[in-house]
Symmetry: C3
Subunit: 311 residues, 3 copies
């Protein structure tokens, strides 16, 4: 049996992953989901995940911790820089090199672009980027695509709308790079001041059929998937402008009536007012399933970087 090629490798950028890589990860996630608990708990037994969160994150941290626990492993780390050596002024390099000695795989979130690449070069053990800089959140993009695959039964030929703050939303860029491996039509819907940063998607513009809109309703009836991101009040110089925008982008029952009956609503969470709680129990709302798929996909990634054999 050939080794799995993710064994002992870093997961730094979605740009490093080919379509074949992604599909190997999706198949591995399918497989891990079918394992019985006592089989699963052999995959990380006695292994330790070390996490370092220089930016707060509950969701991502707990998702990885839960994934590691399901593999029979433990988690240790830092998620509150204020009560740690980070506060004393320790360099990222030293923090990484030390946690590398205490663990078998490292999960890193850091505000700077390139932080995970840098960490990967320093550490013996694999690094998994849990969000860096303004553009990289590779495991989020993987779980987003895996969710589409499971819920829509395909990724190719989907028409996908991405709504909200496309300028500052880290997940949007990773998602677009992941989608560029497939034949999809992508509609970017945002107020002009929160539009996508063109230079950041320069090299995938030709691979993706990309369209920009300022009104969701212009394209709503065509969408198979609406991927919603948070719009932060503080991005707007004018609060009235914010209130106006927020209203037109909020996904609620009224929006659903104008969309395809089987449209799927996704969100990287946490969700604020941009999706109405009134649609939580519809079949269209798949954002909680997305979080559940995320735990499984992260369990698969951990199992793959920690073990030579495929799952």
């Amino acid at each position: 049996m050939p080794n799995n090629h993710l064994y002992d490798h870093d997961i730094v950028s979605i740009k490093d992953f080919t379509k074949q890589d992604l599909e190997f990860i999706f198949r591995s996630t399918d497989k891990i989901s079918t394992l019985r608990p006592n089989e699963k708990s052999e995959l990380g037994k006695g292994r330790t995940l070390g996490y370092i969160f220089y930016e707060p994150s509950t969701r991502t941290r707990m998702s990885f911790e839960a994934a590691m626990a399901s593999l029979g492993g433990s988690s240790i780390g830092i998620f509150d820089p204020k009560s740690s050596s980070i506060e004393k002024g320790e360099s990222l390099a030293d923090t990484i090199r030390i946690i590398d000695l205490y663990s078998d795989v490292i999960i890193l979130r850091h505000p700077l672009d390139g932080s995970s690449r840098f960490a990967g070069e320093l550490s013996r053990n694999p690094i998994i980027n849990a969000g860096s800089g303004s553009e990289e959140h590779p495991t989020q993009a993987m779980l987003d695509l895996y969710t589409m695959l499971k819920e829509k039964k395909k990724i190719n030929n989907l028409t996908i709308g991405i709504v909200g703050d496309l300028k500052y939303g880290r997940t949007v860029y990773s998602l677009l790079y992941a989608l560029a491996n497939y034949n999809v039509e992508v509609h970017l819907i945002s107020p002009s001041i929160l539009g996508i940063r063109k230079e950041s998607i320069y090299d995938i513009r030709k691979k993706l059929k990309l369209y920009e809109h300022s009104q969701l309703e212009d394209i709503l009836p065509k969408l198979d998937v609406i991927y919603v991101t948070r719009i932060q009040r503080e991005r707007f110089p004018d609060i009235q402008e914010y209130e106006k925008v927020k209203g037109t982008y909020t996904i609620d029952n009224n929006i659903l009536t104008k969309a395809k009956p089987d449209v799927s609503i996704m969100h990287p969470m946490p969700r604020m007012e941009e999706i109405s709680h009134s649609i939580d129990d519809t079949n269209n709302a798949i954002y909680f399933k997305q979080a559940a798929y995320g735990k499984e996909l992260r369990a698969a990634l951990l199992a793959l970087v920690l073990n030579e054999n495929p799952i």
Copy 2:
């Protein structure tokens, strides 16, 4: 063998538990305490406890974590709302629904009445209320009664004094509801401004023999158990009033000489000045045993909600 009826059930309010339920839990705690470590660690193997503490708690959180570890399981969660998504403004509903996907049982502490009931309706997995609103802390009440049962060899026919802040102390209300299942005499001892809220115990007034006092010494010689709660300085408009009250309620060697020789002193902890350290090593002081019984009882509850078979 019949299934245990707590399997996959929420533990929200002490009011939901009959005397038979409580005694089933006490017998299960007895049984779990006799298991060898390697038997015990099969009961939660590969399972994950997810905790969410919207209010600080060291004692209760660690008690549950230690209980889960003794069952062979793991714990993940949030205990510092300031460094989590909660801070970003996520709703309780979303936080519950997500942690529900990452864990097998949820422990929740929240300042609002009804929060655990609400959480239980949203989650697939069982919720255990670790303190909500002003009146509910069911696992504390259970461990309080279990402590009486183990240390006094009975609950029926005990004469119990509850001393301190009866108005704001969450544990007092749950304890009274639990005691209402038994034939006990309860003396409530507090300064008048910190007296019990009558409306909150309306439906058990007839079941309990309840008496109110403002001076502990009035009833002291009759008590089998003195359950002490903290009096917080900030409840008093007048600091001199506080100092005076504090003095009369402090349990020390002087108080013990006026009480029954086998009187038992209990406290939900943390304890401040309301119990003198000078009595810690007497046989009357059972508040540390109470904490130890608490871990065992919580291990039993976790084992019961996680497993179909009785312990």
Copy 3:
């Protein structure tokens, strides 16, 4: 097979350990390092480490947690006094007595001298001092000596320079007491206002060949080991004085050229500017190895206090 004499014992002060004790711990660390993961994970299976950090520490806490995880055990505890009962004003005695009920071994860091001794007297389970007061950090001193033994192949006859803040550095005092068991020559290099507190090493002055210097370069060519500690800006009344001192004590390539070719640079970490990153990849830099040995030595200590049999 005789029991190991550390079983169920506290590790409070380096002064309690004879040379024979230290060498037993070093041999045990050698042995534990050769165990396969599944053998190692039997040594703490189902056991819980309880930690209480009244002062922040990332490094030491994670080192112990990782060590416990490698033994198959769990860790629970408090490392942020602000969100815990400690904040409510609970006494150290109560906090210790409660965590003692929830765990099998306790790791304590506390600002007061004598805190660990006190805790050890209260707890049923063994206490390990993870730093107390101004002078005690016994496990750090043990791992420092173990690092010398592994990297220099001996401790006797080493010439060791200790550089930096010798007045306030807790680790320095424990290190000197540990070294006093061996025949070593120790050079203390510090600005005069940060010199060693003589009264704190009074009883080992005769056992150690101790020399004081204010300039590193005076003794540099003779040193086998340079143990560097942090100099904190806030210790200096005059910032210019700080800048001048900092420069003369910084270990960099220039310093290495004037030292023995095989000089070893150690540091308890976290390291700030006192060691230049430019020497991290030289064979002289052993501070990361030191951290790795630390995890192994702590795993050995935990295994020894938790198990009757030697490793």
